[in-house]
């Protein structure tokens, strides 16, 4: 091989590559400027769990332990208690409620089995996804972190509408 043919070949390759690169410049950008811009999440995205309340603000969870039983990574810890007060004053919708409800996000694999198992629609996956912490102990979230009335939602996401074509945003335009 001569040097000249080498130079010609490599120049061709550079031109081929750069033509693709330069061709992208005038096109629409699909890099999301997170965290300056919010990311768009699928409606069924499985983020940090939410514990729901009913229209009167009472917790829907009755501490049946089915989520804990369904959990493959054993990350849900519940202590149930009796709430003998009249219905209107109760913490939960029934006389049984979860005194303690912890999820260990160091173990959770976001499989969604707990949500499937819940007979009361009390637990769902929310959209909060920024779960990194400085100490591992902080990965343990308590009821105060999980209740829908108390969980602080991150400003860094937006949920796609159900008819929105989210996927194509990342595909060839």
């Amino acid at each position: 091989m001569s040097i000249i043919s080498d130079i010609i070949d490599s120049t061709k390759a550079i031109i081929k590559g750069m033509s693709i690169t330069l061709a992208q410049i005038p096109k629409e950008k699909w890099t999301v400027q997170y965290p300056d811009d919010p990311v768009t999440l699928q409606p069924r995205y499985r983020g940090q769990h939410l514990l729901h309340v009913d229209e009167l603000g009472r917790e829907k969870c009755v501490a049946c332990f089915l989520c804990a039983a369904a959990c493959p990574s054993d990350c849900i810890y519940i202590i149930a208690d009796d709430d003998p007060r009249p219905e209107e004053e109760r913490i939960g919708v029934d006389e049984r409620y979860a005194k303690i409800y912890n999820i260990d996000y160091g173990r959770c694999i976001f499989c969604g089995y707990c949500v499937e198992a819940c007979p009361k629609d009390a637990i769902t996956h929310g959209y909060n996804f920024e779960l990194s912490v400085y100490t591992r102990a902080d990965l343990l979230k308590t009821k105060d972190d999980l209740l829908i009335t108390k969980q602080k939602q991150s400003p860094n996401y937006r949920v796609a509408f159900s008819d929105e074509d989210v996927d194509s945003e990342y595909k060839e335009i």
């Binding site: 009755v62 501490a63 049946c64 332990f65 089915l66 804990a68 039983a69 149930a80 208690d81 009796d82 003998p84 007060r85 029934d94 006389e95 049984r96 007979p119 009361k120």
Partner: protein, 766 residues
């Protein structure tokens, strides 16, 4: 029942069965599954759930197999489209009024109705009508009730009537309006909780375990109850090192008691995880000073040094070793070994209320098992009150009389509730039980005994006649009222009275779970009794090593005895009267935290298994004793294993020869200790001594009239039961709170005069 066999054809296969067998039992034992709710073997028939329907040839309609007795040549079909349709229909009816609140219901996960619906239920509920609503409520401090979940199988009412004889829970109303209820909306009974156990749904629930945990996350450990000498088998459900509940449900455990437990066995377990449990070893460095927490090494070193000092100064006989009828055989054996081999003292004993030594020395016949009691022909009960102090024995006696037609002779100074079942009740003067024994054994003393007992002489001869007319098993039970001589005399009766047709069996009624074991090990055979040991404290006894505590009975009149000792080492669960003067207190593990064996009043050696790790820094009793021996320079070579201790124990104790843990593994096949049968011997000395003591009895003493109330002994709070708030409510007369929809514990302040008083402390001291 005859052993004649007949032929029954089930689903095309022929079976030879015993005449009179129940069809449902035959189907099930031969592998043809027949579902049922209301059928419960050993209870009266009900046939209300109608899920056990089968087709029997030549009968016009489907038949309930639980009420059919097999006849020769019967041809039965248990599986067909017709039967399936009928069963599915019945289950749909059962669910017509059953709420769908399984997530809240404590029974969820071990519910027979859930299982039935999995097998026979429809996918959809076709009934659109409103369900009858009734709020959940409490029937007593320990029984919660959700009437809406009831499917009216009436197991609870039958159990209450037939097992307990209380009839406290009954069905009221008719047809669709039938409800299970109590008189006055409040359960006044012995609170055994057996209605909870047999309930196939979540209608009756444990009020102490309410909404605490789910059955599938509990670790079930089969163990022996620690509250009385019946030794019921139960399953402790624990979660995360905490005992949550005790049940005897046959899906978990199948022991001598079936599904029976009493209030103590079922509800009095919270002492295990009580906050007052001793946490660390403690040392009192200066007499009158404070107990100061120490490490195990420090405490053992301190105790060992002091023991050495005492032995050097006063000799080994100045040291006493005290075991307990509450702790395991292994622990008592370790203490005996400590006394014999490490210290070399003959001053050892156990803190039991009375010794069974005279009885076992003269034992003329074997010990009865609870099954023997159930099928006995004649039962003689001298003293004692099994219903309160040995509830399983009480239940077996009642069933023997009601379902088995046994004749019961009750000889008691009080009109105990069991006398309602008795063929003959001999109401004697208090403290005169010995005279009754003498008359039973020897008719020459009828006149004398009758005079002292305050009964007619003919009553005694009638009782003797009943015993001598028995064909089958005659079981003699006795309580702690008998003197040693009377125990010997009673134990020798079989030699004179047994024939080919009649077998005598004994059933002693000691108060503690391991009273018989403590005797078998030989711990009761020391030079002193617990009381005399206390009497000698400060004189010839200078140091005591106590496992457990002295009973209030032992300390009465000599409360300061323990303060006179140079050294007192106590291993206990809680701070008690005994630890008040202790120099070293060592935290011991409770029955739920230790492996070992208990020997019950049948002589059955039954396993105790660790359900949770020992609380705080506590250790099993035998391990503490072995560690103390080690500190004193003697290696017991127990290798940290309870089975090693038991092997050595079994080798050295005649009655336990050949026993090993693998043999005791199966609670359905308990192993009886081989107590030696004593040959017939001359009892002239005992009879003469008895006659003299009887002649000195007061002939004018008042008889105790009136039947003691249900629970008068069961509800008294003791060292362990007093840790359970419910017992204080029950001991205070089971007050009905203003609102039964809310747990009584929330409504009634136990501290407001409902706490234990000294007079109300349980006899058994637990």
């Amino acid at each position: 029942m005859s052993s004649e066999s007949i032929k029954v054809t089930i689903n095309g296969s022929d079976y030879q069965v015993e005449k009179g067998a129940r069809l449902i039992d035959v189907c099930r034992s031969n592998g043809h599954a027949v579902p049922s709710f209301c059928y419960y073997s050993d209870l009266a028939l009900q046939a209300s759930c109608r899920t056990c329907l089968v087709r029997i040839e030549k009968m016009p309609k489907l038949q309930t197999s639980c009420t059919i007795t097999c006849t020769d040549g019967m041809i039965v079909t248990t599986e067909s489209d017709e039967i399936e349709k009928a069963r599915r229909g019945m289950v749909e009816f059962l669910l017509a009024n059953h709420p769908l609140d399984c997530p809240v219901c404590d029974r969820g996960g071990e519910c027979e109705l859930q299982e039935m619906v999995f097998d026979w239920g429809g996918l959809e509920e076709r009934f659109r009508e409103r369900k009858n609503y009734a709020p959940e409520k409490y029937l007593s401090p320990v029984v919660a009730n959700d009437p809406q979940r009831c499917i009216l199988c009436k197991r609870c009412t039958r159990v209450c009537d037939e097992w307990m004889g209380e009839d406290a829970i009954e069905a009221g109303g008719r047809g669709v309006n039938t409800v299970i209820g109590t008189y006055g909306g409040w359960l006044n009974c012995s609170q055994c909780g057996n209605c909870i156990e047999v309930c196939p749904t979540g209608t009756l629930l444990d009020g102490t375990y309410r909404h605490q945990a789910r059955p599938w996350e509990l670790e079930q450990t089969i163990t022996t109850c620690t509250f009385c000498s019946d030794g019921c088998q139960m399953s402790l459900g624990s979660r995360g090192g905490e005992v949550m509940r005790a049940v005897a449900r046959d899906r978990y455990v199948n022991g001598i008691n079936g599904e029976f437990l009493c209030i103590k066995g079922r509800f009095a377990h919270p002492f295990v995880n009580h906050e007052e449990r001793l946490r660390t070893p403690m040392i009192r460095y200066r007499k009158g000073g404070k107990l100061i927490p120490a490490t195990w090494d420090q405490a053992l070193e301190f105790a060992a040094n002091k023991l050495r000092e005492t032995a050097d100064a006063h000799g080994a006989e100045a040291i006493g070793v005290v075991g307990s009828p509450r702790i395991t055989n292994e622990a008592n054996y370790a203490l005996l070994k400590f006394a014999n081999e490490v210290v070399g003292t003959s001053n050892y004993t156990a803190t039991d209320r009375f010794s069974l030594a005279p009885f076992f020395e003269s034992l003329g016949a074997g010990l009865a098992t609870h099954r023997d009691i159930r099928f006995a022909k004649t039962i003689v009960l001298v003293g004692g009150e099994p219903e309160e102090l040995q509830p399983l024995t009480g239940k077996q006696i009642r069933q023997a009389v009601r379902n088995g037609g046994a004749k019961l002779i009750v000889i008691n100074s009080r009109a105990i509730r069991l006398q309602q079942q008795a063929a003959q009740f001999i109401h004697i003067r208090p403290g005169a039980e010995d005279a009754a024994v003498l008359a039973l054994a020897d008719e020459r003393f009828d006149e004398l005994a009758a005079k002292k007992l305050g009964v007619d002489a003919s009553e005694l001869s009638t009782a003797r006649g009943t015993v001598l007319d028995t064909e089958g098993n005659c079981i003699i039970m006795f309580g702690g009222e008998l003197s040693p001589a009377a125990q010997s005399l009673l134990a020798q009766i079989p030699h004179a009275a047994s024939t080919d047709k009649r077998r005598f069996l004994f059933h002693p009624l000691p108060l503690y779970n391991n009273s018989v074991g403590a005797h078998d090990i030989g711990l009761m055979g020391g030079a002193h009794t617990a009381s005399s040991l206390l009497g000698a404290a400060g004189a010839e006894i200078r140091a005591l090593y106590v496992a457990g505590s002295f009973l209030p009975d032992h300390l009465r009149g000599q409360e300061e005895a323990l303060s006179k000792l140079d050294l007192l080492i106590v291993q206990e669960l809680f701070e008690t009267e005994t630890t008040r003067y202790a120099d070293v207190v060592l935290p011991a593990a409770s029955f739920a935290e230790t492996d070992g064996t208990f020997t019950n009043n049948d002589g059955l050696v039954q396993r105790v298994r660790a359900s949770i790790p020992p609380a705080h820094q506590s250790k099993p009793d035998w391990m503490i004793t072995a560690a103390l021996a080690q500190t004193l320079g003697m290696d017991f070579n127990f290798q940290m294993s309870a089975s090693t201790v038991f092997r050595e124990l079994a080798e050295r104790t005649t009655a336990y020869n050949g026993m090993r843990y693998p043999l005791l593994k199966d609670e359905t096949k308990p192993v009886q200790a081989k107590h030696a049968i004593a040959p017939r011997r001359d009892l002239a000395d005992e009879i003469e001594a008895l006659r003299l003591s009887i002649e000195s009895l007061d002939e004018t003493a008042e008889k105790i009239m009136g039947t003691p109330p249900v629970g008068h002994e069961l509800f008294k709070p003791g060292e362990l039961t007093g840790k359970v708030p419910q017992f204080h409510l029950l001991a205070a007369g089971n007050p009905k709170p203003p609102d039964v929809l809310i747990s009584p514990l929330y409504q009634i302040t136990i501290d407001a005069g409902l706490r234990r008083t000294d007079e109300a402390v349980a006899v058994a001291g637990d």
